[in-house]
Amino acid sequence: MRNYSKITLSVLFVASAAFTSCSKDDDPAPEVKASIYTRLGGTTMVADPDNSGQMIEKGRLSFRKVVNSAIGLIVADVQSNASGNLSAHFAPLLAETGDTQATNIAELSDNLTDFFSFNTGGTNAVNTYSGLNMVAAHDPAQNPRMGTKASNADYTKFEGYVGAAANANGVASNTELYTDIVAVLESLRTPIVQK
């Protein structure tokens, strides 16, 4: 009887070990999702279409295209004395600043490209964001280039512009990449909305 019990216990032990092992083999380790930056092209070097002879990370170039398109869409809506078109925030981009210094848009485009690239996985030095933190950058008292404080409605509108810009640059609204980009923008709402 004792022998039977020992044999039964041994069988149970070996079986449980085998089943546990099988169970581990059957469940593949959850795949780590590639960063947004990687999915936009990552660190693959490509020729910069606007700077002849220079190379640029493909992920950074994708972000730059989206950022510039978003700015262009906002500028298209700028109207004097009209409410809700972000003109107070972005109209100064249209001012010519001569040909010897960085323009308003060059600075904004670079800062936004750095910020989005770095915070979505593009952590190479080329994407280092050296601007103000999000609260200071959107507070006219701390950043004289911020025309006025942003409201929730302003920010929702801005997200819409970025979404349309992403669409225009090949990121469809029904993709996971688009949803992830919107999630990043949403995570910035609290520090940016100050009105």
Binding site: N51, K65, V75, P92, E96, T97, T103, A106, D110
Partner: protein, 144 residues
């Protein structure tokens, strides 16, 4: 005599502090690197058409704009009656682009010029005509 010695000491200390402050200021000016931007001469400009632009016209306008030297590869935005494009302001400017576009076809449009009341914020909050700005820029350029 004692008073004179004290005054001398105070003067030495004060001038030492002043020299130190000047040295720190010079160190900061010398070591400050000018900001480097990927496209420092990127400019955005806009042309407002008299009526809304349909898809055929949009194609035509974009194709005409693409033949003008100095435009970047960024998307040309066509929205309602407005066209927004990006260009390198070392190569061209909004007036030249507008004139060239108008010379290609009899478009009914006008160059968008920012109203003075909206042009209220500049890149640099410092008065770029001031002596202090020009002096620090000269020193900085000398060392960079």
């Amino acid at each position: 005599m004692k008073m004179n010695k004290t005054i001398k000491k105070v003067l030495y200390v004060v001038s030492g502090i002043v020299v130190l402050f000047i040295a720190i200021l010079l160190f900061h000016i010398i070591t400050a690197k000018p900001a480097v931007y990927e496209n420092p001469n990127l400019q955005v400009s806009r042309i407002d058409f008299e009526s809304n632009i349909d898809s055929l016209q949009a194609k035509q306008i974009c194709s005409d704009l693409r033949t003008i030297k100095g435009l970047t590869t960024d998307s040309i935005i066509v929205k309602r009656n407005v066209v927004v494009y990006f260009h390198n302001n070392k190569i061209t400017n909004s007036e030249k682009v507008y004139n060239e576009l108008m010379s290609k076809r009899p478009y009914e449009a006008k160059r968008y010029i920012l109203p003075a009341n909206m042009d209220n914020k500049k890149v640099c909050p410092i008065d770029q005509n001031s002596f202090s700005y020009k002096a620090s820029k000269t020193i900085n350029q000398f060392f960079n």
